[in-house]
Symmetry: C2
Subunit: 221 residues, 2 copies
Amino acid sequence: MEFQKTEKNTVKRGAKKASYNKKEIYALLDASEICNIAFNVDSFPYVQPINFGRTGNKIFVHGSLKNRMTNALIEQGTACLSVFHLDAMKLSKSAFHHSVDFRSVVVMGNVRELKTNKEKLVGLKSIVNHFVPNRWEHCRAPNDSELNATKVLEIEIDSASAKIASSPVSDKKDDEKLDFWSGKIPIKTVSEYPITKKDVNENIEIPKHVLDFYEERKNGF
Amino acid sequence: MEFQKTEKNTVKRGAKKASYNKKEIYALLDASEICNIAFNVDSFPYVQPINFGRTGNKIFVHGSLKNRMTNALIEQGTACLSVFHLDAMKLSKSAFHHSVDFRSVVVMGNVRELKTNKEKLVGLKSIVNHFVPNRWEHCRAPNDSELNATKVLEIEIDSASAKIASSPVSDKKDDEKLDFWSGKIPIKTVSEYPITKKDVNENIEIPKHVLDFYEERKNGF
C-alpha cells in the first residue's frame, strides 16, 4: 500500500530516492524515538523535537495543558513532522557533491485532540510502546490527575514520503581523476547495555522487553 | 555571552534545563550534521531535514534554484531550525515519567539570500567545513556553473535556546516502591572507520582531517 502523491508530499529533488510505501514509512517512523514537528504561532513557523507514538495510520503526541506547540497544532488542525536517520558522511572530490546516506520521512496529517480519558490512554499507550515496545504493561498506567494535566493529540496521516539514500560517493567524470581523498564515514546510532536504577528491588532482573530493545539496536538502527 | 530571552526563545517547560549560552549553543550546532528547518508554503508549516554550516553567529543553508524550502525561507525572511542529540532512554516505574536525556537547540534567525559568487563561496565553505572540519581545502571548490545552480542563504541568529537533560530517571515518591524495573538505556551516535572510495589514487592515504573527524566521534557525539 502506498500513500497518494500530492503537491505536498511529492519528492522533487532526488525523486529516485523517494518512497511512498506505507510499510517502509511506518518502519522508519518506528525506528525513531524523536520527530521534529512544525507549527505556526502568529504566522511564524516553529520547529520542535518531540517524542511520539504510531499505531496504524495514526501518530500521537502529547504536551502539558499550556504547551505552545500542542495548542498551536490543535488550532491549526494539521501537522507536518519529520524523522531522520544519518547513515554515512559521503566525501566527494568536489565540494559540491558532498552528501550523506540517510533515511528520512516527512508526514502530513490532520490533528484531533483526544478529549476523554479512554481516548487519551490509547494515545499515551501508543507513545510509551513506541518508546520501548511492550513497555506499557511493565509500568504504572497514568492516573486521572496525570491525564487531566496532559493534552494528547492524534495525527491521522494524510500523506507522507520517505527518502532513502544509500549509494556510493559520486563525482563528475572530470573530477574522478583529481588527487583528493574521497570516501565514506559510516555513522551509527547504537544503544548500550541498560543500566538499572538504584531503587529497583534487587530481585527484579532487566526484563525481556528492555533487553529486546537493546539487542535490536545495539548495532545501529 | 548569552542570547537574550524573548517570547520566542524562552523555554517554559523544563526551564531548569535551559541554556542561552552562545558558546554552548554553537557547540551543539557544530556537533550536528543535520538540522530540521520550518517554513510556510500557503500558510502550511512544513519541516524538513537539511545540512548546514555555522560561522560565528551565522548559519548557512543551500538548495537548488527551484527548491521549495529555500524559496519559502527567502520569501519569509525569517527561519526557525532545531538540532537534537539523543543520549539515553529513561524508563521510569510510571508511564507518565518516561523521558530522555538529550541535548537540543532551537534557533530563530533572519534570512538573507547571498547573491554574489564571492558571498556564496563563503556560505558553501562554512557548510563543507561544518560537514567535516577542514574539508574545504581538500576538495575542488565549486565552479561558476555549480554556483549558478545553487541558492545559498545566510541566517543571522536572532535568538536561540538550548535544552540539556542529563539526570537520573525520576519517579514520584509513591511510585518508587513499585515492583517495576526502571533504568536507563544509553544511546550513542558514533562514527566508524572511514572507507576509501575505489577510484582514489592508491598513494593517497586517509588524510588527517578525516581521521580527526573519526577520532573525535568514534565514541559518540
